[in-house]
Amino acid sequence: MVKVNGEDRAAAGFSVTGWLQEAGYQPAAVAVEYNGSILGRTAYDSTILKDDDVLEIVCFMGGG
């Protein structure tokens, strides 16, 4: 299982690009932290998720 935004998801085996599509994110609107480090957009295709990985997917929202 992969921890995605704090929840266990069956994302192992997906590339990051694949998972973003699968889960329904807009890739252009998010940033990804992979196991504690920022994952550059160019690495989305080549990064394959495995069990125990931790993924944070964030976006902008309204704020002061």
Binding site: A23, A29, I38, I57, C59, G63, G64
Partner: protein, 259 residues
């Protein structure tokens, strides 16, 4: 100011003509464009949050393109978390501006100056234009400037309280002593309060709740814009003579002087 000199707010080498920094929280995305327009804002703040797949609306689609985005680090409880959020914000691809906001107190939401100084130091080194939200303390402000802050953002009163310039005397000290723009952030509840801060010499005003809770948001945005501009002009013009009450000289002090 020289007559022909352009009056700009300069943050980390970037020039702005508007001195109204607009928050985008607590109101409908659909109102953002009108708010930006009527506020005349060139900088809009945003928060960074875990993306939700159920929500397909991207706030960036609602913000006019020429606007500079100022992501904040709200949610951070220490320097490390703020740094992490700042880096993610930059990865979202909207420039190098970051408003540091670190709170260890969920009741009053008061900023933690020490942690903010630490985060400023780290992020300024990484090339961010750092705008730290702070409690108006002179020593902390000096440390923030030394750490590389592009401005300081002291609170007028607790965040979201609309209570106005409760910290007025201390903000004045920062304005007098700090060689960076002093942007009054948090607690400004009405245009008259924004105007007062600008008359004191504040470089800009950041407001969110006062607009979000107004009956007519775009109209309030316009009111703030005019008040901020009026306060700025009054500051530049130099406030005039106010007759002091009952200050009559007793004995002359200069009678001893020889020609």
């Amino acid at each position: 100011m020289e007559k022909n000199e352009e009056d700009c707010l300069v943050l980390g080498g970037h020039k702005f003509h508007s001195r109204f920094i607009l928050g985008s929280g607590k109101y409908s995305l659909k109102l953002i464009e009108a708010a930006v327009q009527d506020a005349g804002a060139e900088i809009v703040t945003l928060a960074v949050r875990r993306a939700n797949t159920k929500e397909h609306e991207n706030i960036l689609d609602y913000i006019p393109k020429q606007v500079t985005l100022l992501p904040n680090t709200s949610g951070a409880r220490n320097a490390e978390e703020a740094v992490r959020i700042a880096r993610l914000a930059r990865e979202l691809g909207c420039g190098d501006f970051i408003k540091i906001e670190i709170m260890r107190d969920s009741k009053y939401l008061l900023p933690d100056n020490q942690e903010t100084i630490r985060a400023t130091d780290i992020l300024a080194r990484e090339g961010f234009v750092v705008l730290p939200y702070m409690y108006p303390d002179l020593n902390a402000a000096r440390d923030l400037v030394s750490a590389g802050a592009a401005a300081v953002m002291p609170l007028a009163s607790p965040i979201g309280s609309n209570k106005g310039l409760a910290t007025k005397e201390f903000i004045q000290i920062l304005i007098d002593e700090i060689d960076r723009p002093v942007i009054v952030d948090a607690g400004i509840g009405s245009p008259s309060q924004a105007c007062e801060a600008m008359e004191m010499g504040a470089a800009a005003i950041m407001a969110n709740t006062a607009l979000a809770t107004a009956g007519n948001l775009p109209l309030m945005a316009a009111a703030f814009r005019e008040a901020i501009s009026a306060g700025r002009k009054a500051y530049l013009a130099g406030l005039g003579r106010v007759l002091s009450r009952g200050a009559a000289a007793s004995d002359p002090l200069t009678g001893f002087l020889r020609d």
